[in-house]
Symmetry: C2
């Protein structure tokens, strides 16, 4: 839940005066997002979201994210497009912080995805990859494989604090991932955080994706791997092969994976689990006791790492039984 | 900011199946309310709020609050009416907790009310009092004058901790209020928490009130006194007589105060400041360090108490200059 920046009615009226979307009818802080402040904004012109970007957002990266969202919306992918004010400005300032108004994207995220949701999500991810083709912006994946060892160097103690001996295990994983990290796969713009809470459905059908603030250029199949981890594990920690096959099948219904991509999936999924384990571990240690946001449990991804570690040749992702 | 109860898509679908409002199109946790969990719910049938009542809400009192909201909506006052399901049931259960779906009430609350807002708010309060006439429900004000001394008995140490010597000062106030508490004033249903964040405006005009969960039967003028404290103090702690006169004038444009009510206003305002000081002091001490909700500062109301204490004959509320 997140409203870090309070916006009063006068500040809102001042902001809206720059746009052609009328005056405010309703304005409500949302318990969504952990990094930024989000508000539902209804005006005489329609419904929107106002996001105020908080300190963890690097302002120089905002144009990439917002331009991507607009590009996707203009290229057939259901994404909330940012609004430009009368002067063509998309990134505004509220209380000294960057802020943007984006369209309201209807849809519901699912908490416990079914196999059908996984298939829809996979197809939606392929739509995203296809719609992003030709997008001129570029941004490196600063949470990609090269970043993990340096990040983990600061977290060894935290890992052992979480579970004795875990630091050595993670080091072993990192060595293995560094040695075997897939190279030369097709790249493009990836969402990089394609979790169920960032994907919307309407009547069970894929209806769009939000939260592009980790988007970057990397291997397209890595995005599939992130999604496999996020969508296809059961609450008991087991990997649901049926869901995984459905997700990959949905993806391949629009963009078939190459043999190299398919072969790379187990390593990519292991690496994707590492990425989220490391950032959750970092947030876990960095969150002060009185914080308003509960950090996500790094142990969830520690367990996913263990699954990938134990089954290094997992070729289950959509492969025939 | 408040979402204490997580509701997943399956639970939501089960709940909606009992109603005739279609299927969910969007469902978003709101950073609103400190006591309950609130969600914006959009269905194929319209827009609503879902509130899940958390443990501080006494379930046996819910019918009074929800019946009152419906009554007001049916009697010309802009209140969000609760929805009944197909079996006529208004209070449902979600995750074992009572819950209700209410209509979406558009409007914006104001952070820093102008004199015009105060006038509109006063008129809106009179509309509320008038619309509630004839409402058959009844509920005692469990935070009324009789409750303050017993409550304060548990908070003497907290008061001195807030400000050395404060406990003795508050005791003096309580004695004075007990001796001089106005009796025999016209009673009716009062909102009892008519603060700016519970009042909506559209284009500067009163558009409705929300959050009736302190509503009860008490002196109508006490509601005006609560509002004077909540709307007419400046950020520097000074009482804005112009705002106060506007609020009372707005109120009296629909329901003129009797001479007795007008004469009672200073004592009622002193008492209303006591009520919010005491409950804030209680919440301040009771909030654990890691809580997700920041309690409101009791010192704000300690300062308001001081203003009323220093000017016991304050006859400024709308009186001619």
């Amino acid at each position: 839940m997140a409203v870090y920046t309070d916006i009063n009615d006068e500040e809102l009226a001042l902001l809206l005066a720059d746009y052609d979307i009328g005056t405010a009818l309703a304005f409500k802080g949302m318990a969504e997002g952990v990094e930024n402040s989000n508000f539902l904004l209804e005006t005489t012109g329609g419904r929107y979201f106002l996001t105020v970007y908080e300190k963890r957002m690097r302002e120089e990266e905002l144009p990439f994210f917002l331009d991507l969202m607009r590009w996707l919306a203009q290229h057939g992918f259901p994404s909330a497009a940012p609004l430009a004010d009368r002067n063509g400005v998309t990134i505004k300032r509220v209380r000294g912080k960057p802020a943007a108004i984006v369209e309201f994207l209807p849809g519901l995220s699912v908490r416990r995805p079914t196999v059908d949701h996984c298939r829809e999500a996979g197809e939606g991810l392929a739509r995203l990859h296809q719609a992003a083709q030709g997008f001129p912006g570029t941004r490196a994946n600063d949470l990609g494989q090269a970043s993990w060892a340096p990040l983990f160097a600061t977290l060894r103690e935290a890992a052992d604090g979480l579970k004795p001996g875990l630091a050595a295990t993670i080091s072993g994983d990192l060595d293995r991932l560094a040695a075997a990290w897939p190279q030369g796969l097709p790249t493009g713009v990836i969402h990089a955080d394609y979790f169920p809470d960032n994907v919307f459905f309407t009547a069970g059908k894929f209806a769009g994706a939000i939260d592009f603030y980790f988007a970057c250029v990397d291997a397209l199949a890595y995005d599939v791997a992130v999604a496999l981890n996020a969508w296809c594990f059961e609450a008991d920690g087991s990997f649901n092969i049926t869901s995984a096959r459905a997700l990959v099948a949905g993806y391949e219904s629009l963009r078939p994976l190459s043999a190299a991509e398919r072969q790379a999936l187990p390593a990519l999924a292991h690496g994707a689990a590492m990425r989220f384990f490391l950032t959750r571990l970092e947030a876990w240690g960095a969150t002060p006791a009185g914080a308003l946001v509960r950090p996500k449990d790094p142990l969830e991804y520690e367990r996913k790492l263990a699954v990938h570690r134990a089954a290094p040749d997992l070729v289950l992702f959509g492969a025939p039984a």
